[in-house]
């Protein structure tokens, strides 16, 4: 399958502005960032969590700890896929128990990834509270899950593909809508 | 009863015939061979144009399993398989139950073969009672009842003194000993040829020397006793060297090779397909090449199938537990034609010799020719017929063959036994 870029949703500057806003919201919602840690969901949630942590640091002077969660082993769609997806490491070097954990992902769609991430996170310990931050909410939820912090709401059709690109993986920061080219 | 086989290429090595000719059969005997034999209308005519007309093929080494193992094969199904495979004479080995160590068992074989009424079945008596390798069988009685040779095939005679006495005694009767040469102490738990592939496949190996040591011993004993020794299913270069030397020195030593040892290597054991399990084991490429060369050079006296049919249960199991052996009567000619004759390794007239006068010389039989007045046993080959080996169509009860699924060129086209057409294109007439 080939994809074609249909529309640019966010550029580097608008992503940065959205993350700064979310950083403020996290700070406000938790009355400071004491006991707050960020956990990005692989793959693009990881770099976003790092950027978010840097923004928080520039606001509050404290950089919250950042971890990365691989949710492959918690997915509910393994048997409907072709080959077994590649499993990566979960790298959360701090104890999650008693902390406020902000899960960070690029896009929320059906909510199934967030569900898997909740399970994966709770297998690591017992956080005091879990919040969810996403850069894009594109709708079409299949589970009763609602993000606490959203960069941008983007109404989409189910057939469209929302791609978040990050410098660390893709070489640039932007968000685009793509469609399949026949 | 007249039958005219018209226009085929007649190859009769004994009489040095290789020409296009008609063969006329009257009352089960060869009545005339020549061009454009006149037709008077009351004979059946077989149009053999483009086919090769030979004396009936003889297999001096087959296991027909009867009596005792009729669930693997019996004289009737074995005879059908032989006829379909182009053989008019088959010698059956003594490892039945009871063993052919007594005249009455030999008589059973002959009587049942008469019932089958298809081809000649000649029994081979055992060397020792119950194949135990200890006491000699009553060889004179066995000879009187029709046994054409003696063999404990499947079980080597391990004791050298017993073998010596067997050779001496058989010599007195002017019959050969067909020896299964294997040093059991050396082959022990072996499952395949010892070498690169046994190491690669993780199966215990059987060194070539397990065979060669016993070939050497038996050759020495043949020289000592002056007896006729025939080495069964020779499979290694070392055995060939020993036999070559013995022959050069004038010893009465002959040998046979099987179609599978002549064409298959140990590499094919890799999938642990029990159809590849056979004793002696399939050897490495160098041995196989040397064997084919020795066949063409005349060092090997005849081709024998070592037809070893097994029931499904004996093969559908773990490799180590499987019985050894290949069901060979219905593929032997096609395998040799396809792999040796069509590849230029063996001349067609040599192939005919190896299936006719060759085995006759080993056993001292005067058949294997198209000499006038001799019994009209004829095998006709279609050198260009192409068929795939399908064990499901075998007349033999044994469907165990590593040639399964192979497409082979050159098949028996007709088998005539005693002047009667018994098989045509692999099917019984």
């Amino acid at each position: 399958m080939k994809f074609r870029e249909k529309a640019l949703i966010m550029d580097e500057a608008s992503i940065r502005r959205a993350l700064i806003r979310i950083a403020h919201e996290i700070n406000e919602a938790n009355k400071g960032v004491e006991g707050v840690a960020l956990v990005g969901i692989r793959r693009r949630g990881g770099p976003l969590a790092n950027q978010l942590a840097s923004q928080i640091e520039s606001i509050e002077g404290i950089k919250p700890p950042v971890g990365v969660l691989d949710i492959t082993l918690y997915r509910d769609d393994l048997t409907t896929l072709g080959p077994a997806p590649i499993v990566h490491r979960t790298e959360v070097d701090f104890d999650v128990t008693g902390k406020v954990i902000v899960l960070v992902d690029d896009v929320i769609f059906t909510g199934r990834t967030a569900r898997a991430a909740l399970d994966a996170l709770m297998d690591l310990g017992r956080p005091r509270r879990i919040q969810l931050a996403v850069l894009i909410d594109r709708g079409h939820r299949e589970l009763p899950i609602k993000p606490d912090f959203v960069g941008k709401n983007v109404p989409t059709s189910r057939q469209e593909i929302v791609s978040v690109l990050v410098k660390e993986i893709d070489g640039e920061d932007k968000v685009v809508i793509e469609e399949v080219v026949r | 009863m007249k039958l005219l086989v018209k226009g085929g290429r007649v190859i009769d090595p004994k009489n040095s015939v290789d020409e296009i000719a008609d063969v006329l059969i009257i009352d089960g005997k060869i009545a005339a061979i020549g061009r454009d034999l006149s037709v008077d209308g009351d004979e059946d005519v077989v149009d053999a144009e483009g086919k090769i007309v030979c004396p009936g093929f003889i297999d001096i080494h087959a296991h027909l399993r009867d009596p005792g193992y009729e669930y693997k094969e019996d004289i009737i199904t074995g005879s059908k398989a032989a006829a379909a495979g182009g053989f008019t004479t088959v010698c059956c080995m003594s490892n039945t139950d009871p063993v052919i160590d007594d005249g009455i068992v030999a008589r059973h074989v002959l009587r049942k073969s008469e019932q089958a009424g298809l081809i000649n079945v000649l029994p081979i008596g055992s060397i020792t009672k119950k194949l135990e390798g200890e006491e000699l069988s009553e060889m004179a009685e066995l000879a009187r009842e029709g046994c054409v040779a003696f063999s404990d095939d499947g079980n080597p005679v391990m004791k050298s003194d017993v073998m010596r006495h067997a050779l001496e005694y058989a010599h007195m009767l002017n019959l050969p000993i067909l020896s299964h040469c294997e040093d059991l102490n050396l082959s022990r738990d072996g499952l395949m040829h010892e070498g690169y592939y046994s190491t690669l496949y993780g199966l215990q190996g059987i060194p070539a020397e397990a065979e060669e040591i016993m070939v050497a011993r038996d050759v020495k004993l043949a020289v000592l006793t002056g007896a006729r020794l025939h080495v069964c299913h020779v499979s290694t270069t070392g055995s060939l060297h020993i036999i070559e030397q013995a022959k050069a020195a004038g010893a009465c030593v002959t040998c046979e090779a099987t179609p599978h040892h002549l064409t298959l290597t140990d590499e094919i054991v890799g999938d642990y397909d029990t159809n590849t399990k056979v004793n002696p084991p399939l050897r490495s490429e160098a041995h196989v090449k040397a064997l084919a060369h020795a066949l063409a050079s005349g060092l090997i006296d005849c081709i024998a199938t070592d037809h070893a049919p097994h029931n499904v249960e004996s093969k559908d199991c773990e490799y180590a537990k499987a019985s050894s052996g290949i069901s060979g009567l219905e593929t032997a000619v096609a395998v040799i034609m396809d792999r040796l004759v069509h590849t230029g390794l063996l001349h067609i007239t040599d192939m005919v010799r190896l299936f006719t006068v060759g085995p006759c010389r080993v056993l001292g039989l005067d058949s294997g020719t198209l000499t006038l007045e001799s019994k009209a046993d004829i095998t006709i080959i279609d050198a260009d017929a192409i068929r795939r080996v399908d064990p499901a169509t075998f007349y033999s009860k044994g469907k165990n063959t590593p040639f399964k699924g192979m497409e082979l060129r050159g098949w028996p086209w007709m088998t005539i036994s005693g002047g009667r057409i018994v098989a045509r294109e692999g099917r019984l007439a």
Partner: protein, 313 residues
């Protein structure tokens, strides 16, 4: 061939380097799971993995059992008692019976080479060979390779020596097949009666002398000597074996500076390996046990984690 596309894992002879890499890479996050408090992920919930052992081996069986459980699969064991074999049931029928009970994977150990290959041809279950006769023990070799990789950071170009009864060792054979795909320099050491013929044609150098074989080695894999082999007149006595082939700390001095020692276990201390060596930090035998679970989790995940539609049978 991709590892997650194969129906069975019967040996490393026909497994490609890329497949081995996939297993070794997947085993890393699996090991993380074993070492945390919550040692369970829901990945293979609803799958079942049956272990059928025709030969005793508590450790391999337990390793598979735990690997399956950590991934939330059910892992029943079938104890093949000698009596059921004596009742005359064929292997084919036993396996068919098991298949009809519905497990997804059959983990099998058998005393006869090629038995799992025979079974794999006759069942729709996926078959993992947990050791067959003197042929292969692929999961042991994969855990050995993982242990080497973890300590050395690479496999490429390492000098690996295997010491002991090479002839009857499925561990040796699978290690040779696996490591040779990574360009390792392979050697075997043992009495000439226990070295298989034509081993050099597998790209392996054979040594009868322990010192010569160990010189410069990065990895020394010491095999368990099976005392019953002695009755086959393959070596004169345990005493003489110990004298000639027991690997001791002074042998490490001949090896590369940071050489490590592996042993598939259970060890005969004081026979093939000295206690001082077995307990030194260079000996990774305990890590091998943990890694064995991780590697088997990786194998089970790769074989069962995806959908079944596109599996090449």
């Amino acid at each position: 061939m991709r590892f997650d596309r194969r129906k069975d894992l019967l040996g490393l002879r026909d497994v490609e380097r890329e497949e081995i890499e996939a297993v070794l890479e997947t085993a890393v996050p699996m090991k993380d799971i074993i070492t945390r408090d919550m040692k369970k992920v829901p990945t293979l919930k609803g799958k079942s993995i049956i272990t059928v052992f025709y030969e005793n081996s508590t450790r391999t069986r337990t390793s598979f059992d735990l690997a399956g459980r950590y991934l939330s699969a059910d892992t029943p064991n079938l104890t093949v008692s000698t009596s059921s074999v004596q009742k005359g049931e064929s292997l084919k029928d036993t396996i068919k019976t098991i298949e009809m009970m519905g497990p997804d994977v059959l983990v099998m150990r058998h005393s006869l080479s090629g038995a799992p290959h025979y079974v794999a041809r006759n069942t729709s279950m996926r078959v993992i060979n947990a050791g067959d006769g003197i042929n292969e023990h692929p999961t042991q070799a994969l855990l050995d390779m993982y242990s080497i990789l973890e300590r050395k950071g690479r496999l490429e170009g390492l000098k690996v020596v295997i010491v002991g009864d090479i002839l009857h060792s499925r561990v040796a054979r699978s290690n040779i097949f696996g490591l040779s795909k990574f360009g390792c320099e392979l050697r075997v050491v043992g009495p000439s009666t226990l070295i298989p013929s034509d081993i050099e044609k597998l790209g392996v150098k054979a040594y009868a002398n322990l010192e010569a074989g160990i010189r410069g080695a990065d990895v020394i894999n010491v095999l368990r000597i099976q005392k019953e082999r002695q009755h086959g007149a393959l070596f004169p006595s345990i005493d003489e074996y110990r004298e000639l082939y027991m690997v001791k700390p002074e042998h490490l001095a001949l090896a590369a500076d940071d050489a490590i020692v592996l042993h598939p276990g259970p060890m005969n201390r004081g026979i093939e390996i000295s206690t001082e060596l077995a307990e030194s930090s260079r000996c990774v035998v305990n890590e091998q046990v943990t890694n064995g679970v991780a590697v088997r989790m990786a194998i089970l995940y790769l074989m069962l984690g995806g959908g079944r539609d596109e599996i090449a049978c």
